[in-house]
């Protein structure tokens, strides 16, 4: 293989007895501009991130010197520990740890509700003859453009009348409902590409809406589930407004606790603790990215259809 290609290259290079040197790729002006632009974009993210990370490991004494870019002289986890377990948010002094577990408790029902709702709706719209499917999808899509802020107060009244206001269920339901337009669209478009013969065969074999969904369609949805999971975990975990509005006093997620911690601090501002708390809050979605990214699997329908 190598010998052959080497032979071909040398033959090609010596056409007509002349040797044509391989053209060298040069960095042109345009690509320099692009590189500078990209470097600036990266710097905008990475420089503040660097400051946050180094500050979280510094002692308060070093922070008092004001050299924000310097590395910690003595690396300490004191700020991290305080942020996790001791820092005060309003009246309670349990650290952001308390919020972490509430966020987890919000995350799972939110994920389950939103994905269950959207995948079944998408499946019905894509693969079954649903009357008014087109207009329904259009209306659903329009709902995606309604700003959350303008329906917030009616939703508070609604959850209160359902008796779930101030619980994780209120937050989970609101997440599921607000995510539904986008997720339904994603699922519908994914299921549109399921070969029609498969669904026809399944309808002839079983005919049961739920059974086809559970046994045929759901196992084929691996790819899209990962995409939706990453999307939803990030948005649910990073959400502040829904948690603040619907969590009441008892079900405030980590982001709300973090904000309370930073905002309500009195006297000396513990920058290392604040930075560590912010990082602790930001880490879980990152873990999800790196963890789930590996499971992007290709060719989930391989072998179902010839070719």
């Amino acid at each position: 293989m190598n010998a052959v290609s080497a032979y071909e290259t040398s033959a090609a290079a010596r056409i007509g007895g002349r040797v044509y040197p391989r053209r060298r790729r040069r960095i042109k002006g345009a690509s320099i501009a692009v590189l500078v632009f990209l470097a600036m974009c990266a710097a905008f993210i990475s420089i503040p991130l660097y400051v946050v990370i180094v500050t979280s490991f510094k002692t308060m004494d070093q922070i008092a010197l004001g050299e924000v870019f310097s590395l910690p002289t003595t690396w300490t986890f004191e700020g991290w520990w305080k942020a996790w377990a001791e820092v005060c948010s309003g009246m309670t002094c349990e650290g952001v740890r308390h919020g972490f577990f509430i966020s987890l408790a919000i995350l799972f029902p939110s994920l389950f509700l939103s994905i269950a709702l959207a995948s079944v709706t998408g499946y019905a719209l894509a693969l079954w003859n649903v009357r008014w499917a087109g207009p329904f999808l259009f209306v659903l899509f329009m709902c995606a453009f309604v700003p959350f802020q303008i329906i917030m107060i009616p939703l508070v009244a609604l959850t209160a009348s359902l008796g779930i206001y101030g619980t994780i269920w209120a937050i989970a339901v609101i997440h599921a409902v607000l995510a539904m337009p986008l997720l339904t669209l994603i699922f519908r478009n994914f299921y549109k590409d399921v070969p029609p013969e498969i669904i026809n065969a399944a309808i002839m074999d079983s005919g049961s809406f739920w059974r086809i969904f559970a046994e045929i369609i759901l196992p084929m949805s691996g790819n899209i589930m990962i995409v939706v999971l990453i999307l939803m975990i990030t948005s649910v975990w990073n959400d502040f407004l829904i948690g603040l509005t619907f969590g009441g006093m008892g079900a405030q997620p980590m982001t709300v606790i973090l904000a309370n911690t930073v905002i309500t601090e009195r006297g000396e501002v513990h920058y290392n603790v604040d930075m560590a708390a912010a990082l602790l809050t930001a880490i879980p979605p990152l873990v999800v990215y790196f963890g789930l990214g590996k499971f992007f699997v290709q060719g989930i329908t391989a072998g179902a259809i010839k070719g």
Partner: protein, 302 residues
Amino acid sequence: MSPISIPRDRGLAMVFQSYALYPTKTVRGNLKFGLSAQRLDRGEIERRVAWAAQLLRIEPLLDRRPAQLSGGQRQRVAIGRALVKNVDVFLFDEPLSNLDAKLRTEMRLEIKKLHHDLKKTVVYVTHDQVEAMTMATRIAVMDGGVIQQIGTPDEIYERPANLFVARFVGSQPMNVFETTIDLTGNRVVATHRSTGVEMDLSDYSFIRQPATGMKVLVGLRPEHFSIGRPNGGKPAAIFDLPLRYSEKTGSDGTAFLAAADELLAVHVDHSQIGALRDGASVRAIFPADRFNLFDAETRSRI
């Protein structure tokens, strides 16, 4: 059947052209899912899956997924998924069209055997006339969604109802040319225009009474010609024409004879094909009982 009956209750099983196997299920899972509409106990399901697997020789593949199977194996699984249902009517939608020629010939025989053993009705859609001729008990030839003729393979081949069927069936297409019927005494004759050869149609069983001056299309199947000497049967037309070129297919071949501006395709036996020389004159004899006549206007059999 009421118009609202849903597909699973129609007592049908279908084999799709693309197989449409469930990609995430094993072969066993695929076969079992075929039974999910029928409420059967576990033992019966196992028994049927085992029976179909044994019949189609896919037992070693039961725990594989479709992606791990070859085309022919997927084909068998797709048939198996229909078989386990034990219904009265099977629908096959061009099931062999995705297979290569050799495998297609093998599977054709398999399906034919299966049909013979099961004694169930199979509606089999195909574009391949060889499949149709070899497998069918009855063929419906369709053109543009309209049924042209329904009959046994022999009827379709021997007595095509119209020109479309006549041209469609037969591996080497039928020679067709237009001519006029002449009644002389008690004989019915027609002349091959470009060569002037007279054809005796007296033995043809006319559906309609022939009349002088009637415009007809005469169809001569290449395989009914005999070369040199008449091969049994009464000779009705004798063509002495130069050979333009010939095609050999190993066991036999086709000679294309130059008849003025058109070509006359003639089937040649293995023993004679070696003697053919381009440009040399060949005597092709057509027997009296093998003509196909069609109305020049309506193109249907007369």
